[in-house]
């Protein structure tokens, strides 16, 4: 489902050039639960951004569901993100002035889905993360764990091909961390593909596969 071929990413800032990713190749198949690990500066966030179609590789190819997305323009990338990718961020990234339900419906608004349908789908997504009783709360009326569950519901609502989670438990206490990981596992059991960046080995242990990066290179790929 995800196929990365000879991917490089170079950041250049005038004279200074930084090679964040050095010729990387890997696949992620449908239904996998992959942890992407590495120390800071290893290039794992860059990989995550490219996998999430937020950024483009400098060279190489990225096939997502058979489509080469490495040369698409901004608007096509927006559409891919909307259709195929669900994001879960470390800092939740909910819109603070919108309620949980409104936050979850937002991807559907950009997908052009009608209001009735949007609300139905969003409620279902919130139900699947166990937040049916909090749908009209604003993010600051929710706990960290609840906020992250809203973010997961938002990532799920468009039925994406893959969920990209960037340190999703980094800002959470251990109890919430447990909850979130359980939700991810449950989703994965039902067939959702998940890629999760983390630097904590105990979290990576919940995944089925660990890809390790160091200095922009893929240094390990193990299945648990």
């Amino acid at each position: 489902m995800i196929n990365i071929k000879d991917m490089r990413k170079v950041y250049s800032n005038g004279k200074l050039e930084l090679e964040a990713i050095k010729k990387v190749n890997f696949h992620i198949k449908k239904g996998e639960f992959v942890a992407i690990m590495g120390p800071s500066g290893s290039g794992k966030s860059t990989i995550m951004n490219i996998l999430g179609c937020l950024d483009k590789p400098t060279s190489g190819e990225y096939y997502l569901d058979g489509v080469n997305v490495s040369h698409l323009d901004d608007d096509d990338l927006s559409k891919i993100r909307n259709d195929k990718i669900g994001f879960v961020f470390q800092s939740f990234n909910l819109l603070s002035k919108l309620t949980a339900l409104e936050n979850v419906t937002l991807p559907l608004v950009y997908a052009g889905i009608r209001k009735k349908e949007r609300i139905k789908k969003a409620k279902k997504a919130l139900e699947s993360v166990g937040l049916s009783d909090r749908i009209h709360h604003l993010p600051n009326e929710l706990s960290g764990g609840q906020r992250q569950r809203v973010a997961i519901a938002r990532a799920l609502v468009n039925e994406p091909s893959i969920i990209m989670a960037d340190e999703p438990t980094g800002n959470l206490d251990s109890k919430s961390e447990e909850e979130i990981l359980e939700i991810f596992k449950g989703l994965n059991k039902n067939g959702t593909t998940i890629a999760m960046v983390t630097h904590e080995p105990n979290i990576a242990d919940h995944c089925k596969r660990i890809i390790r990066f160091k200095d922009g290179e893929l240094v390990g790929d193990e299945r648990l």
Binding site: N49, G52, L54, D55, D74, D75, S78, K79, R81, N82, D83, F87, F89, N93, L94, L95, K97, L106, P107, V109, Y110, A111, G112, R154, N158
Partner: protein, 404 residues
């Protein structure tokens, strides 16, 4: 994202920042309301003051001898008999031989100018006057030697502070052609409505203090029996051009050619041209304030883009295209300016009526100026909204997400 969703979301984000939205709108409100106010008052002045003048001066024309002309000879001087000659034409209502004189007068410690106009029997046919108090001169008084005058009601009000002017006197001073100062006291027999005047303080700026005096007495007062003009009026204004041509020929029959200048009455036209220019100037100032309001919108929208970088990043990450973000910000600024514009129109009309009551001139608001104002304010919303909206739409989602 469709337009209705965009409008809803723009409205929501403006509603959340109520105070800021209101202050931003204030710039546009002030701009539009001043445009509406100024044009309303300006049109009010035009229609109130000028309508009477216009109606009374249709078909009027004046005859003057051009004394500056080198070919001018003494025999070319306009005489009372010329007025009689003109009046004989069956297409003519009347012809008034006329001389005028500006004199200075000390009124409440201020030097003011008084415009003395000669009056002849039957002159009302050409230049109708409405008497508010007293009367005009009788046929007998035109030939008698008693020093009588009539004055306009605004001048009378200033002179006698609301008390009756009839029987009161006015002492006028002048310097005659031999440079000898003289003065004479006149009795007021009538007070007429000032045809160009208005009770309002604005109107009075354009109002002359008028005094009418029988022709022979004014000639005596001036020490000259020369006529300045002959003012005449035709029955049917469509014949005006033909009549003017015929009269020129008649006058030139026994005298020098091209000495006589015959002009349609343009007093009203030149007066309204001045008003137009003043109004244009004031409107220009009002439009500048509208422009400043537009810059205010741009400023706030730019600040709002910076403040909402994170929001833009999130929206982009979950699938907003560049044009969705562009539309969102553009709708917000258009909404601000259109709502500001509509409020400005309403406030402008209210203020206009208030000022109208104060200066006693009912304002006239035309649909045209309302449509133009709202149009201009929407245009400002678009024009000044594009820069911030484009800036927002082109943000890189990764950088936007990373910012705090």
């Amino acid at each position: 994202m469709n337009l209705i969703e965009g409008i809803k979301s723009a409205f929501k984000s403006l509603y959340i920042n109520k105070m800021r939205s209101a202050l931003t709108m204030l710039g546009i409100i002030i701009g539009i309301s001043s445009v509406i106010l100024m044009s309303g008052i300006g049109n009010g002045i035009q229609s109130t003051i000028l309508s009477d003048m216009k109606n009374s001066s249709i078909g009027n024309f004046s005859v003057e001898a051009d004394m500056e002309n080198k070919k001018y000879k003494d025999r070319d001087k306009l005489k009372i008999s010329d007025a009689e000659l003109i009046a004989k034409d069956p297409r003519i209502v009347g012809a008034n031989p006329e001389t005028t004189q500006y004199i200075r007068y000390k009124l409440n410690e201020n030097d003011v100018w008084i415009y003395i106009v000669s009056s002849t029997y039957g002159g009302e046919k050409v230049f109708p006057l409405t008497f508010l108090e007293g009367r005009s001169f009788t046929k007998k008084e035109y030939s008698e030697d008693r020093p009588l005058i009539t004055i306009d009601h605004l001048f009378a009000k200033e002179l006698f502070k609301g008390k009756s002017a009839i029987g009161k006197t006015l002492t006028l001073k002048t310097v005659d052609s031999n440079n000898i100062a003289k003065q004479k006291t006149y009795y007021i027999v009538g007070v007429f409505k000032n045809p160009t005047g208005s009770d309002s303080p604005v109107g009075s700026l354009f109002t002359q203090k008028l005094v009418f005096m029988p022709l022979n007495k004014l000639m005596k007062f001036k020490g000259s029996n020369a006529l300045d003009t002959i003012n005449a009026k035709v029955k049917d204004s469509s014949q005006l051009d033909d009549v003017m041509k015929d009269i020129k020929e008649k006058l030139e029959l026994s005298r020098t050619k091209d000495i006589y200048k015959i002009k349609k009455s343009d007093e009203v036209d030149s007066f309204s041209k001045i008003l137009d220019k003043i109004q244009l100037f004031v409107l220009a100032v009002a439009f500048i304030s509208l422009f400043v309001g537009g810059i205010g919108i741009m400023n706030i929208m730019l600040a709002s883009v910076t403040e909402r970088i994170k929001e833009i990043g999130i929206r982009k990450a979950i699938g907003a295209r560049n044009r969705d973000i562009l539309t969102q910000f553009l709708i917000e600024s258009i909404f601000l300016s259109v709502v500001g514009g509509i409020l400005g129109v309403i406030i402008g009309i209210c203020l206009g009526n208030l000022v109208g009551i104060l200066i006693k001139i009912p304002p006239v608001f035309t649909l045209k100026i309302i449509i133009i104002s709202v149009g201009v304010s929407s245009f400002i919303g678009i024009a000044f909204g594009v820069v911030p909206a484009r800036k927002a739409s082109l943000l890189n989602p990764i950088d936007a997400l990373r910012s705090d």
